[in-house]
Amino acid sequence: MVGLLLFVATAASASAVDFTRDIEPILKRNCYGCHGAALQQNGLRLDRADDALRGSYTGPVIVPGHAASSKLIEMVSSGKMPKTPRKLTADQIEVLRKWIDAGAAMPASAMAVKTSSTHWSFQPIVRPVPPVVRARIRNPIDAFVLAALGKKGVAASPEAPPATLLRRVSLDLTGLPPSPADLARYLADTRPDAYERAVDMLLHSPHYGEKWARHWLDQARYADSDGYEKDSERPWAWRWRHWVIEALNADMPFDEFTIEQLAGDLLPNAAQENLAATGFLRNSLANREGGVNTEQFRVEQVMDRTATTSTVWLGLTAGCAQCHDHKYDPISQRQYYGLFAFFNALVNLDQPAPLPGEHGTWMRQWPVYESEREALLIRYNMHALVEEWETAMRTVAVQAPDNSRAQFAWKNLGNIATGLQDVVLLDRNRRSRHLHDQVLVYFVDRGASDLFLKDRLGAAKFDEFKKAFRETRKKAPPVTLAQTVHENWIPRQTHILLRGDFRNPGVAVEPHTPAVLPPLPAGAPPTRLTLARWLVSGKHPLTARVAVNRAWQEFFGRGLVRTSEDFGKQGEPPSHPELLDWLAAEFMQPKSARPWSIKALHRLIVTSATYRQSSKSRPGLAGRDPDNTWIARQSRIRLPAELIRDSALAASGLLNPAVGGPSIRPPQPKGVAELAYAGSVKWNESTGPDRYKRGLYIHFQRTTPYPQLTNFDAPDAAVACSRRQRSYTPLQALNLLNDAVFFEAAQALGIRLVQEVPSGFRERLIRGFRLTLNRDPAEKEVESLARHFERELLVLRDNPREVQSLAPDVLDRAGRLETAGWVVISRVLLNLDEFLHRE
């Protein structure tokens, strides 16, 4: 009886703990500041039942019915929480304890989960109706721009002169200036749509893909080496670049372009080119320093892929949420790791991706090589040893780190070979034949000697076998490989990494997208493929806005959103929000073109009157709109690093216009590559026509980039670069004046002028102007340069060695002295500010 009474009393007092009356005031006063609606430190939110029970990034903090095992009680009774000087009293802790022991009942929150934001870029894209304007417009772009200008009482600029316009649009679409013949043809074309015809020609040029590939390469942080200390060469990185050029030239729609690069491997019946597209994800840096923790740098690659995808498609700086909830944008740490999870189980593999012409030979000769190789393995009885090595590797893979030789061998396998740790885990008959061959090659080169002691290998006649194997391997038909990714056959559970530290996993997270954005399609598996399709579903508020803004930026020198990499709250708002949305809507669902056609978007922009305006500075306007935000004129834009070299090569006739293919190494001064770690980088100068290929093909070594690229603000390929800087430095001047590449171009141009134009200073100068600036010189300019030409001839007359050096070839048409003079004039033309700009 007494016992029963006691029980009732306890139950009564426990049930007497009421959340609203007893618990909420304690939590509100002491906890909600950091774990409430405004802030969820460590992911913990206590003011809503479901969140409170889910817990923090480290796990649950309330275990209903078990106060003793609830972290909340532990934290408040140890005084670790709250972090403010005022701690909870013993009574308060006791009440909390009772409440949890009694089941931690909380009223279900009436609040909806916060999935919306009022920030402009997260709002759905609704196609605005172009405003009606009085002025003559060429397409709706002009209506938006002119309506805004009208409100400010400013008129648009007149159209640029035809020559300026053709130079501008040629450089913008193909990255190459028009030839004098192109220009003459254009100027002679009197049809009303002459300009549109020229634009269509340029859009069909194979150089279009090169120009726009470079812009995409910036965003993809493309490089031909790993980065970090070792900075090993990536001999097959270019195969992805090749894919990009071809995709752009074929006007692959942006939705496909996106899906293939992010998830080409997951497409049903993924073809070779789908796999080659995933090279996008392979552009992450890789640290192969001898002593690195492979897991740490695997995680870094996942983080890099998450951040890059976010910057490139969402225009959001998700990287902040790697360590803590984003301070400005609605991306919690949980949501960041939700995105991270899509990329967390990737294997890097280098797979055959033969170019046209390679395929037949490869298919024919590979089996011949393979059978010879197998015969060799049998002759030396190596299968058993290979099997033993593989088994050892698999065993280490599941064991805790120890000090064994096998551990050392396993670590090297991860560090030195690409993806082979994962391939070795894969059953042999599930490996492609080429991947199995890679395993064997690694085994022979490194794996065997890492694992087996010398006497063991000696007994197996390994050295003799190795020699024979290498001879046989030489018979393997060479084939182009592509850097690809593959979803790992062993799934990997993602955890929140506390403070971004790979050694501090918190709670488990499934792949998911930020709540503020539209949900993934119901029922779709949460894979990379679904993520990629979601980005280009047409309902996504960011993808199209971000993409059209970047295109605009390339055509006008600044985006409608100036911060083209940041559409979040800290980015700048759009200068023409309706125009941005109209372009985005038109890009996705055009009235009269294919959806997501990049070429159609570019054509739309360059055929607008807004684009065709003069770039001349307007007195009076500069003070009101110094940054040309209103677009009352075009902008003068300094050419990017690659196009400066391309232009010089094109003007001088040296350019090799071949499209696609491996990277090239133009001459660079001795000592540049040697700055790399331990002199590991070799710069074997390209000889023959390769050295005159366009700038986007220049081998990019991350730790010692080609100096001309760095001097002219090319990005460092460490993180996605959405917009380049444009600086003026003396190093640029030295570069253009004195670099062997540009001097050679000046010599070639000088000789070209002398050869192509029989005589006359003025005539030759006109030719020089047309080749470099795509216009004729003004009278004043002819006078200036004639004066300097005469001065220069006086200098040269006394210095035959200089003449010899400037004009090494003896020419029929002009004396060597005069040719040398023209080399000097050509050098002036190739250094003019106007030559370095498109106006």
Partner: protein
């Protein structure tokens, strides 16, 4: 200065747009005088937040992680443990992070002799006598610690305050803060010796700042600055004609296009031309006394490369170069430490000792901050990668980020002082632990900056060198 201010300077030139006709020339002349000093307004000399002693920095980066146990932090106690493993309580800290050594590897005592140097009596080893002779000007820190275990991440943290890529380096922050004093030379110069550092260009990058803040590499062979010499036999007279023609043409085009930014282009060509004549002067040692050349070690094979860089560093500072980075590689002595470390000391210590004394004698030490450091230190245990402990002449040490030493001198630093101490194993600091961010905050303080206010806006927020940490270490200051 932040972005808006930075842009304000840029827009100031738009002021000239109201001039027309003949006044253009005057406007241009004015522009050349005021803004065009370094070819770029970003390089205008600027005042720091508060008056400061240091105006220049010579940063001696010893890449790889020099062994503090064999140079700066005597641990005779280690002899007792020689050959035995460290206490378990310590080795746990490594977790699985050690690069090559095993946590249970045997303790390796240093065979070096340490003795007291100078009036102050700072203890340093016998391998750097010329540096140690300046002990009274040196502030030795024994309690440095960093977050990174590997070389490149360690160097990223040391130079840019973060192990993430893309941030500006210390030299870039310095030139961004102070601008350039030199009209004829780059503000931030880099000289590399040895085999090449693993951080490469990230140690002197401008990151997300404009590229003029990037370090300019002075090379030891060929052109000292890339493309400094005229191509082929092209004479300086021809170069002048070329520049005159360029200038005239560019000025005409500035008038017709109305783009005043062309003035920057013109100015950058003129600076390039001045560099062509002044850089060779910088390299011309003929006016240095034979005694100076000898003291810098230019007459000996082993010291000549680093000695040349030290002498150049002094001459650069004299000519107003703001930040000189001497990057030397490699001090990463995983094996044969007793041979390799000795050789590195022999290559560098005499020139450095001479440079300190030379700067002092010329009255430049007070305004020049010297920093000597690696990206981390080395373990108290021997490193072995296979099963066997290496032979005594092959022993080396692994990377150790928890405690290591470095020294500072000149420019507002208190000489003759030792700051911080470590435990018996040189494993953790026991006094005054100093993080990389604290070091960076202190360096900026010496240059007159509050490290929390020297910021650059990028991706919608203000970034700073010290990320979200760092405190000025008052004990280091004079």
């Amino acid at each position: 200065m932040n972005w808006p201010q930075f842009q304000a300077i840029h827009h100031r030139r738009k002021f000239f747009e109201k001039f027309t006709g003949g006044i253009w020339t005057a406007a241009l002349a004015h522009l050349m005088q005021s803004d065009g000093r370094a070819g770029e307004e970003t390089m205008l000399p600027r005042k720091p937040h508060f008056p400061a002693r240091a105006k220049n920095v010579i940063f001696m980066f010893m890449e790889g992680g020099p062994s503090q146990l064999d140079l700066f932090d005597p641990k005779p106690q280690l002899r007792k443990y020689e050959g035995k493993p460290l206490p378990d309580s310590l080795t746990k800290a490594y977790g699985s992070k050690l690069a090559f050594a095993q946590p249970n590897s045997a303790v390796l005592a240093s065979p070096r002799q340490f003795r007291k140097w100078g009036q102050c009596g700072t203890e340093m080893s016998d391998w750097m006598p010329s540096i140690s002779a300046n002990a009274d000007d040196i502030c030795l820190i024994r309690s440095m610690h960093t977050d990174a275990f590997n070389h490149h991440p360690g160097q990223l943290l040391l130079f840019s305050g973060s192990t993430q890529f893309g941030r500006p380096s210390l030299g870039a922050w310095t030139t961004y803060g102070l601008g350039s004093e030199s009209q004829n030379l780059p503000a931030f110069a880099v000289m590399v010796s040895g085999r090449g550092t693993s951080g490469g260009v990230t140690n002197w990058t401008s990151g997300f700042m404009p590229s003029p803040y990037q370090g300019t590499v002075f090379r030891s062979s060929g052109d000292p600055i890339l493309y400094l010499s005229n191509p082929g036999e092209l004479s300086q007279k021809t170069q002048r004609v070329t520049l005159d023609a360029l200038r005239e043409m560019n000025e005409q085009h500035m008038v017709s296009s109305g783009d005043l930014a062309i003035a920057s282009r013109i100015a950058s060509y003129e600076l390039a031309f001045r560099m062509q004549s002044h850089a060779p002067d910088l390299l011309d040692f003929s006016k240095e006394s034979p005694a100076t050349l000898d003291a810098y070690g230019l007459n000996q094979e082993i010291t000549r490369p680093y000695g040349t860089n030290c002498l150049l560093a002094r001459r650069m500072v004299e000519r107003g170069v703001r930040f000189v980075l001497l990057a030397d590689a490699s001090w990463d002595d995983h094996s044969e430490l007793n041979t390799k470390l000795k050789k590195n000391c022999d290559r560098t210590q005499q020139p450095i000792g001479t440079m300190i004394a030379d700067l002092k004698q010329r009255g430049l030490l007070d305004s020049t901050l010297l920093v000597w450091c690696g990206e981390f230190g080395r373990t108290p245990m021997v490193e072995h990668r296979g099963e066997n402990t290496p032979a005594p002449d092959k022993v080396g040490r692994d990377h150790h980020p928890f405690a290591y030493s470095l020294w500072l001198a000149g420019g507002g630093i208190q000489g003759g002082r030792v700051v911080g101490a470590t435990d018996d194993f040189c494993f953790y600091p026991t006094e005054d632990p100093i993080h990389i961010h604290d070091l960076q905050a202190t360096i900026l303080h010496c240059l007159g900056f509050d490290h929390t206010r020297l910021t650059f806006r990028h991706l919608g927020r203000e970034f700073r060198l010290t990320d979200v940490g760092g405190a000025v270490v008052k004990k280091l200051l004079a």
